[in-house]
Subunit: 619 residues, 2 copies
């Protein structure tokens, strides 16, 4: 078991090594920007998919919509640049909103972000698999299986530790960026020089025949769909502690590089798709169509598809960095189970990684591995978190003042207002397409956070030493006064060991046999005179053949005799088999008794001491 673990996950890392696991800017850009950059693989397509229902003529609107989104990107990017410097220790939306706006907005942001991380994994992985099936349609039926395999791989890489994931992911991210920029340049040149013709206009649009009217609502929906291009830009500000020192400077520079790349790539592909007259299809992505047309289906085309698939699948990695980190922060604040804050032996929050992988897998299975069915759920959480985070920053500058705080507050305020407007557009235009699920889930999650926190506070209060006086606990109870009960299921070596221990504990020991099998009882009674070490043997009747009933009744009765001596202590002889499966061949009475006595809940629960005396079989 340990050996397998070591091979799969690597050797344990000492805590002292934690600080060394920092990312260079080059690696950090790969780890934290894959989510943002990879959205160029589907954002343009989502715009076209909405517009095409109004006929292919409406597709021309994709360029103005793309420009508006690029403008928004610049605004939000600037806003996050300020966040990085305002929160050099990591300014996720939860922390910023919690610190500046209070607990409720903070938890709302946290719920939105958690949902969003899960959706990022699901959307990225399904889109990545779509890139593969565009090139190899024969793989289409295995879409869901491929998605789950991809999640498994990313989760595994993350369980091995964050620095190694930086190495694993840097090459594909840069390869994708390179081939994608090459696609844009070659495509633009060929269009300008007229060496390429538009894709034949005769292709039937995926969304069916009858064209709808091109309403303002439809345009807003196309815009809302395109805003998925902005997902992921908050990753860097959440992940500042993973950067090398000085963290905020390095993170800020990385953010600028990422925003610049993202704007160039998104506008480029939108422009090229328009120039080539691409119409969205069921079985092939827009990027694949553009690539096949520009590169001509050769090795460059395959490299583009491979790069797209890889970066999308690796984009999920942004969430595998962010989700465990955020959930460990929430767990530390008692809003989530504390197991999520346990640092594993590879210095990662392994429970968070596993939880994220499971949740995303469930989503993918439910939605059949189809990107366009997941998109309407996607952007709600992102933009809600954007808005709360930037509103929090306005408050932050106001509180802390400093040089030129008014300008900083204005920048963040502009960000907050514009992302809030986008959020309103998304909710309104996508509500019936699935956004309602997210809007329903957020208050449920907030309620859960509160319930969990209330439980922890409750427990802390019940266990607290406040109000107790140490003197009361230091008096030494006389050793001889313990009432000790030794339940027997037969006479054997294990019994003798337990009997010896019981006698070392007190002079008041009673051995007890519950008479379920008369021949066993008879055998114990026969051997007791020579082996019983002068201890009293009591036989309990069991008319209904239950072991626990008579034993519990006897213990209760004993507790009531001389109550000042406390509860009776139970000594349990237990033989432990040499192999775990041998275990299946025995009645496990000792374990049953232990569980019932210790984990009995409700008003009958007693703080009874249980002493387990194991006797190991050797074969």
């Amino acid at each position: 078991m340990t050996a397998v673990r070591r091979v799969v996950l690597g050797s344990p890392l000492p805590t002292a090594q934690e600080v060394h696991h920092r990312l260079t800017k080059i690696k950090a850009l790969a780890v934290f920007s894959s989510d943002a950059l990879s959205s160029v693989a589907y954002a343009t397509e989502e715009i076209l998919l909405v517009l095409v229902v109004a006929g292919t003529g409406a597709l021309g609107l994709s360029m103005p919509i793309g420009l508006v989104i690029a403008g928004l990107l610049a605004v939000v990017g600037t806003s996050y640049y300020q966040t990085i410097h305002g929160y050099p220790s990591g300014g996720g939306a939860y922390i910023v909103a919690h610190d500046n706006l209070g607990a409720w907005p903070g938890l709302t942001a946290a719920a939105a972000l958690l949902i969003d991380y899960v959706l990022t994994v699901a959307v990225s992985v399904t889109a990545g698999v779509a890139a593969i099936t565009s090139a190899f349609p024969v793989l289409c039926p295995f879409r869901v299986e491929l998605c789950l395999l991809a999640i498994l791989c990313v989760a595994w890489a993350n369980l091995r530790g964050v620095r190694e994931s930086g190495t694993v992911f840097a090459i594909p991210t840069y390869a994708f960026t390179f081939i994608f920029l090459m696609l844009l340049v070659v495509g633009a040149i060929r269009l300008a020089t007229g060496t390429i013709a538009p894709i034949s206009a005769g292709v039937v649009p995926a969304a069916g025949g009858g064209a709808q009217a091109l309403t303002a609502f439809l345009i807003l929906r196309a815009f809302a769909s395109g805003c998925t291009a902005m997902t992921g830009i908050e990753a860097i500000s959440n992940g500042i502690p993973a950067f090398q020192k000085p963290e905020p400077n390095n993170a800020g520079k990385t953010l600028i590089a990422m925003i610049a790349l993202l704007m160039a790539m998104f506008l480029g592909i939108t422009f090229l798709a328009r120039g080539l007259g691409v119409v969205p299809l069921d079985h092939e992505t827009v990027v694949s169509q553009v690539g096949r047309h520009v590169f001509g289906g050769g090795p460059l085309y395959l490299a583009l598809q491979a790069g797209t698939a890889l970066i999308l699948i690796l984009a999920a990695n942004t969430s595998f960095a962010g989700f465990p980190r955020l959930s460990s922060i929430l767990a530390h604040d008692r809003y989530l189970p504390r197991q999520l804050s346990n640092l594993g032996d590879r210095l990662v929050f392994h429970n968070g990684i596993i939880a994220l992988a499971l949740l995303a897998s469930v989503l993918i299975v439910i939605f059949g591995g189809q990107t366009h069915r997941l998109i309407p759920l996607y952007a709600v959480g992102v933009f809600l978190a954007f808005t709360l985070s930037q509103a929090g920053m306005v408050r932050h500058w106001h509180k802390h003042g400093g040089q030129g705080w008014q300008l900083k507050a204005a920048v963040n305020g502009l960000g907050a207002v514009s992302t809030c407007a986008v959020l309103a557009v998304i909710v309104a235009s996508k509500f019936t397409h699935g956004a309602w699920m997210v809007i329903l889930l957020i208050p449920i999650l907030i309620w859960l956070f509160h319930t969990i926190r209330r439980h922890y506070l409750n427990v802390a209060e019940q266990l607290s030493l406040d109000g107790l006086r140490p003197e009361k606990w230091t008096g030494l109870a006389s050793r001889k006064r313990h009432k000790v009960v030794l339940p027997l299921s037969g006479m054997h070596r294990g019994t003798l060991a337990a009997l010896r221990f019981a006698r070392s504990l007190s002079q008041d020991v009673t051995a007890v046999v519950v008479d379920v099998e008369p021949e066993v009882t008879a055998r114990v009674q026969e051997k007791w005179p020579s082996w019983g070490q002068q201890v009293l043997l009591v036989v309990l009747e069991s008319p209904y053949r239950s072991t626990m009933g008579p034993l519990l009744a006897y213990l209760d009765e004993l507790d009531q005799r001389e109550p000042e001596r406390g509860l009776a202590v139970v000594v349990l002889p237990e033989f432990v088999t040499a192999r775990w499966w041998h275990h299946l061949l025995h009645n496990q009475t000792a374990q049953l008794i232990k569980n019932v006595l210790v984990y009995q809940r409700g008003h009958t629960a007693k703080d009874r001491v249980i002493i387990d005396v194991p006797y190991h079989l050797r074969r």
Copy 2:
């Protein structure tokens, strides 16, 4: 939980009531003969299904085949009548073969019977559901679901206790017998008076067009299929202890009544089916065709189908009496896990009932709920057990002598020879149709029986007191000499209770904190001077953030200091949450430590005493 259990299963029954749970002859006939009698619902059909592949002309052979089977029934019935009187306390094939032929033949019989009980449930339930779907073809797609529902009902009735199943099952068994005999009488009269015409001969046979040659092999296979009519006649001799006193006389009379009824019904339906020229169909059973034709599809027909379905589904009940009883005998002889010999609080072997229900359900799901696919597996086990049981009886009479033992031995000898011949026919003619599975499974089961028994003997030897001298165990270890270790995960009320108990146990107590979370360690160190009761506090480094590693190393080191004082004893403070699901919100370190220390296996395993000091939270 207890309340639900009580409503579903009834109140617990005291052991003393066991002897009263005996069956009258009338009820015993219902409980033990439903398997045998119900086989008339499919045995004739199985003969016809084989013959029809040689063309409808070959169907005439069903009468002579039926007569041979009826003769065999008389022989085997007489043989079992003798077994009942030779083994008045219950003479199942396992006991008879084990006592007279030795352990290996006994275990072979046991394996054959266990397989057979499972198949009886599967075949009876699928055939019963076929009777329902013959009348209501709309239910065909839910065949498997209906089968599983039926198994659930029968298992539930049996979990409530055997007398109640007698009451539940008597009425349908007698109702079926009555309506079936009425079908035969009415059919015979209408045939004799010429008021009924044969079913139109134009029906296409189910098995397809091209007729095969009518070979001797085909006839033998039809005979082998028809022998399923004999399944279940051993049930009475296995179940003698359930009869009222004098058990053997009552059981013998019940057996005669059952054999007479079975012969009459089997020959009757075979004759009538032939007289009406019935051809087996895919979607309707032979009995249903005869019934529809004789009764004309009215309420009598529906009553026949309902009765057939009920008795078949209830036939499974024979196995629910036999399987748990046999497996409890095997468990008592250490060939099966001892849990199978636990008498539940309703005086039934509940684990056997549950195991049988699960195994039969799996078979039904695998074989798609189709009777004819299960039949080839069915008769192998039955006839193997018949042969071994009767060969054992020959030996029995030979050993015990008594008046006229030679005649008795001859009768059983004839039974053994004829059932052995049938077994050979079945194996030869059905091998490739599925009989091979059973032939493969029997040695595997025997190997399993032996492995289990060897384990129990091994354990008994290791735990035995033989060779130990009581004097060695009676010396009292000085109480002060225990080395006691108290692992802490924080300072709270639970810790105080554990500390107090530890101090009452020995003067050599050490409290231990594993330094996984520095702030927790600091808090313990800060509070220790006032709350530590002068006990030494040791902080263990944990560079890899594991709690168990440093703790185990510390304990090992302590064990080696003054080894004559024995292993260190561990006292574990454990707080128990008020609701089980609160449990999910805590790290469960105490349980982890307990499990690792007690259930550690292999050469590092130590018989270390673990003391659990629970502290119950109240909300």
